[in-house]
């Protein structure tokens, strides 16, 4: 067998994944926390005050990374859902379902910080503009996926049904992202570009990018620890889980 395929196959085996994730986790948490500390420091102390928005613009350092993550995590979830549906890989089911609550958390933060930011900037907590609305719909999609997953008794069937729903809901992602271009809205358009010069000050840009990277690590860490526990629950009849359970017996 092709070595890459072989590795995939091996990764798909729950005990192997459990151990591998266990070894990766401390590093991921460390990177995530360091990144967060650096990004927050940069955002709160280094970045200069915005000439228009004053210090209120500092909310950008949590709002925007979380907004990006809300889209990224959904894509990750749907992609894993697709793999789970087509190739029936248990690990993908687990990953997709573990990603959903994390994505919902990021979406919630995006909505909450966005409306906190909106109050001083637009004079209102909430308007029914296309981006805000589609982001709210995104939160409901996450909640629908989570709700469906928990409503079905059989774990694997539940994961497949929820993954299917996640796939249907993916039409919402482009709407969230492009809504500022398609409709003229209160929410501002893209300022940070991957290619070509960005429109903001470099001292604002690097903390923002640092936060963006740090939230990726945070997601990876949270995802792996959730997936590990979910595997323990899913495989609770298996020997390797039994050994873990007995090894961690609290001494009474």
């Amino acid at each position: 067998m092709n070595p890459l395929l072989l590795w995939f196959h091996k990764l798909g085996s729950p005990p192997y994944f459990y151990r591998l994730a266990g070894r990766l986790l401390p590093w991921l948490w460390a990177l995530a926390l360091a990144g967060l500390a650096l990004g927050l420091y940069g955002g709160l102390f280094v970045a200069p005050r915005d000439y228009q928005q004053g210090d209120a613009f500092r909310i950008i350092f949590v709002h925007v990374p979380c907004a990006w993550m809300s889209l990224f995590v959904y894509f990750f979830m749907a992609a894993n859902g697709f793999i789970a549906l087509v190739w029936r890989i248990k690990l993908s089911e687990t990953l997709a379902m573990a990603a959903a609550p994390i994505g919902a958390a990021f979406t919630f933060i995006c909505l909450a910080t966005g409306s906190i930011w909106g109050k001083p900037m637009w004079g209102t907590w909430w308007t029914w503009d296309a981006r805000l609305t589609s982001e709210l719909v995104l939160l409901f999609l996450y909640l629908g996926v989570i709700g469906l997953y928990h409503a079905i008794e059989d774990r694997r069937q539940a994961a497949r049904a929820a993954a299917f729903l996640a796939l249907i809901g993916i039409v919402n992602l482009p709407i969230v992202h492009f809504s500022v271009n398609w409709w003229n809205t209160l929410h501002q358009g893209s300022t940070v570009k991957l290619f070509g010069p960005s429109l903001i000050d470099a001292r604002m840009l690097w903390p923002l990018l640092t936060m963006a990277v740090a939230t990726k690590f945070l997601f990876a860490a949270s995802l792996l620890s959730r997936a590990r526990v979910d595997l323990l629950e899913l495989e609770s009849g298996k020997d390797w889980v039994r050994q873990i359970a007995l090894a961690e017996e609290p001494r009474a």
Binding site: L40, R49, G54, D55, A56, R58, I59, V62, H63, C66, P101, I102, A105, F108, I109, A112, T113, I116, W117, K119, P120, L218, A221, S222, S225, R226, R228, V229, L232, E233, S236, V241, R242, I244, A245, L246, E248, E249
Partner: protein, 58 residues
Amino acid sequence: MSEFLSMGGYGGYVWSAFAIFIVVLALDALAPLLKRRRVLRELRGRLRRTQKRNEENT
């Protein structure tokens, strides 16, 4: 310091936004730890019961 905390009058907004960020993500990180404890506790309970029953049967 208090000037820093007041954030040019936007302190309430900025700090509550950062607080939400930190609290929600902290809860997100905590959830799997709690669930892990619960799952393992239930599993150990089940193992004890089967063990006991096997002893009774033999």
